[in-house]
């Protein structure tokens, strides 16, 4: 290979991330996951400090933080910062996903607060209970529209692979925990945890290298 080609190769291959970076990233992920697990534990306990509303907000905040932390190596490797202009499919994704998550936090707080104070019954209780799930359905829709709208085939492949990886990991964890729960070994796992769990696995999977087929 000629020297000019080597220069181009060296300048343009992906940024290599050092051991220090990965150690810091792993420590950050471990801290966030530990705190996340703690928040879920507190949220599932009836006598949790601050009540279920605070627990719920903590869980949501840590879910978002975990997704962001998990995506840091990907962003660094691509030399892309938070401020850089996003490509159209990601811009549409952000415009769908972020308002949905914002609405989810607001509706969750409102629903928990109303349920605690008014103790609704019948169809009102149904409506209050289902309210936080509706924006999450839109957030999930945004997640699954992304690969459909991504016009770059390699990026689409990466997204799809991360979804498949996350689905497999979530099924494995939920199946295992389900049996542990059935035999009374672990506390009951709330079903709403499945989506944040899937999102975390997806964020981690997005950072994994895409091997050749």
């Amino acid at each position: 290979m000629q020297s000019a080609e080597l220069a181009i190769e060296n300048a343009e291959t992906s940024t290599s991330l050092g051991t220090g970076f990965w150690a810091g990233w792993a420590a950050g992920m471990a801290t966030a996951i530990g705190t996340f697990a703690g928040a879920i534990y507190l949220f599932t306990q009836s006598g949790s400090p601050g009540g279920p509303m605070v627990g719920g907000v903590i869980v949501v905040a840590f879910t978002l933080a975990l997704i962001a932390i998990a995506n840091i190596p990907n962003m660094v490797r691509r030399k892309r910062g938070f401020g850089e202009r996003m490509r159209a499919p990601y811009r549409r994704y952000a415009l769908r996903f972020l308002p949905a998550m914002f609405a989810y936090v607001l509706l969750l707080m409102a629903a928990v607060s109303y349920a605690n104070s008014a103790e609704p019954t019948g169809w009102v209780a149904w409506a209050v209970a289902i309210a936080p799930a509706i924006p999450l359905i839109f957030a999930i829709r945004a997640i699954f529209l992304l690969p459909r709208e991504e016009d770059d085939e390699y990026m689409r492949e990466r997204i799809n692979r991360s979804y498949v990886w996350a689905t497999g990991a979530t099924l494995m964890v939920c199946t295992t925990v389900g049996f542990l729960d059935m035999f009374g070994v672990v506390p009951h796992l709330e079903l709403w945890v499945i989506f944040p769990m899937w999102a975390i696995f997806m964020g981690v999977a997005r950072c994994l290298p895409l091997g050749s087929r």
Binding site: A4, E5, E12, T13, E153, Y154, P209
Partner: protein
């Protein structure tokens, strides 16, 4: 799949970004193609070949050359 993308690009003095723009793909795609992490779809492979004025099999090597039954000269047999 092996390919000569990096050499062809360097011969023209293009950056990965230039090639990505010419092909209408992301720079990450060009990097993944050059490093053999990703095999392009047929439409993208033809787009690449057309851009460099070559045939697809002149740029991409499926590494099956060692199998006599798959060699083009045996195809008619």
């Amino acid at each position: 799949m092996k390919n000569d993308l990096r050499v062809l690009r360097a011969q023209r003095g293009w950056s990965q970004g230039d090639l990505a723009d010419a092909l209408g793909v992301s720079r990450q795609s060009v990097n993944a193609l050059e490093t053999g992490k990703y095999d392009p779809s047929l439409p993208l492979a033809f787009r690449i070949a057309r851009l460099f004025g070559k045939r697809v099999d002149e740029i991409f090597d499926d590494e099956l050359g060692g199998s006599p039954n798959l060699r083009p000269d045996r195809a008619a047999e």
